[in-house]
Amino acid sequence: MGLSRYTRRTFFRELTLLVIAAIWWVPFYFLVIVSLKPDLEALQSPLSFPQEVDLGNFSTAWHDAALGRSLVNSLVITGGSVLALIAIGSICAYTIARRPGRMSTALYLLFVLGIILPFQLGLVPTYAVMRHLGLVGSYLGIILLYTGIWMPFSVFLYTGFVRALPKEYEEASVVDGASTMRTFRRVVFPLLRPVTGTVAIFTGLIIWNDFFLSLIFLNGTDKTPLPVAVYTFVGAFASRWNLIFAAVIVSLAPVLIFFLVAQRQLIRGFTGGIKT
């Protein structure tokens, strides 16, 4: 009908939007352009198109910022945290959802309040305790921290989903003589895939990009993830933008590739995580 027809006005609206989007992306143009220039050219004419493509900055940044090691650190930390959030969160939510009663209501409330509670206040005591236990600067410490911070969110999402899930499949499986664990692993968990995706994408992205906590708990160690490595690198190579931007591009690459491959799922997972 009238409102959804493609008119001249729609065309101009679309054109305006494309122009705005192009302007929005100008910073990325600078990012790529500068990263491809050798020192002198980057200093003299940073904004012109590079005379020839020079990938030297990337190898310098890769080695001097130890980006390879940081990439592994980021993968271990994010992967470990997300796995814990999924494994521990889903079984906890399953129990809460399937055993209604006073106990489960109380537990549910514990997690919901945990979402609202900002994490900043607990940060300093957590740091002190972890330092005492030797967990500052370790994978285990930071994974525990992220798991604790995001667990309420994970349990909350899973509980809502399990409650809406019919019980028939599980019951059939139990009647067939399968143990609870087996039933959960074989029957229930596969059915939870949509929430698992949301939890993984949402918490995964936030943890992957987190700088604040990893700066406090990992700075100066060999366990630093990508953002901290970039920060350290910038400190050492201040104003050498061609090198800095090469490091920035490498650090952004994994998420960008992920975004290109699974843009739709990513946006859905992100908004799905937020809306609840």
Binding site: Y6, P118, L215, Q263
Partner: protein, 308 residues
């Protein structure tokens, strides 16, 4: 039907009862999640609330209770008090501008635009990136020999040239620009999701009735968008109040504390100066701010939602 139905339901009933008694997910399964949340959320927060009233230095085994001294010091210290003011200014402007722009983009993108998917991806891409990395791109843009000044020079506005992140009047607003630039796509996507829930017929019917675009927006779109507004505004408030990465990368809180926020002050006071008690007092202020503003806002907006 009537003869089989009861029989069916009763076998299912016994099946369910047996299932529950024989298995029932064991309570043991909640232990790991409850333990990490109790320890890292509740116990840690409670401890933080206590240390905020002490002079703990982070090293000595015990801390002295000093009442409200930390809070008095915060109010008398220009850097910390400034951080509180900057945080509020930044969060407030960020919430307004990113939501207004996000909503405008969502409305423009909502229907009939052919490159909708592409545009959505282009605006959303910055959201998924590291705020720290993104801020460095902008530090270059704002630097003295950077593109912003270059552009100003080209259009004859040389008098406006400056090192933007090092200018006490502008430092805070460079952070604001980066925040809006990065997160407008998030508001947009949330509003787009809200708009999708509005039946097209409703809008068309009132258009046929002769309602103007603005009137339709106010009377139909906006009320039905209320849940999306609630979520987007609350979230950007929480994020805006806790902003850290952008400040750290762009200005470091300077020049002369002109762009300190609560989060950067917490970091500096605690981990650079070793004033753990003072740092937790700042955290307590931030926590109370986030809780009051976010929860208060949520309550007000939800109440409005139900009235609309």
């Amino acid at each position: 039907m009537s003869t089989t139905a009861p029989g069916l339901s009763s076998t299912r009933e016994t099946g369910r009862r047996r299932a529950r008694s024989s298995r029932g997910a064991p309570w043991l399964w909640v232990v790991p999640a409850v333990a990490v949340v109790l320890a890292l959320r509740y116990a840690a927060t409670a401890a933080g609330a206590w240390y905020a009233f002490t002079d703990w230095d982070g090293i000595s085994p015990h801390a002295n209770f000093i009442g409200l001294d930390n809070f008095r010091k915060i109010l008398n210290d220009p850097a910390s008090r400034g951080a509180l003011e900057h945080t509020l200014e930044l969060a407030f402007t960020f919430v307004i501008v990113s939501n207004v722009l996000g909503l405008a983009l969502a409305l423009a993108l909502n229907r009939t635009v052919r490159t909708r998917g592409l545009l959505r991806a282009l605006f959303f891409a910055p959201v998924v990136m590291s705020s720290l990395a993104v801020s460095y791109i902008w530090q270059f843009i704002f630097s003295f020999s950077g593109p912003l000044n270059g552009g100003l020079g080209r259009i004859g506005l040389d008098s406006l040239k400056r090192g933007w992140t090092g200018d006490p009047n502008w430092a805070l607003w460079t952070i604001f620009v980066v925040l809006v630039w990065q997160f407008v796509g998030l508001s947009m996507v949330m509003y787009l999701a809200g708009l999708q829930g509005i039946p097209e017929e409703l809008d068309e019917a009132s258009a046929v009735d002769g309602a103007s675009t603005f009137r339709r927006f106010r009377k139909i779109t906006l009320p039905l968008l209320a849940p999306a507004i609630t979520v987007s505004v609350t979230l950007s408030t929480i994020y805006g109040l806790g902003v850290f990465d952008q400040v750290f990368a762009l200005t470091g809180g300077g020049p002369v504390d002109a762009s300190e926020t609560l989060a950067t002050q917490i970091y500096k006071q605690t981990f650079a100066f070793g004033r753990f008690g003072y740092g937790t007092a700042l955290s307590l202020i931030l926590t109370v701010l986030i809780t009051i503003l976010a929860v208060g806002q949520l309550a007000i907006l939800r109440a409005r939602e139900s009235r609309l």
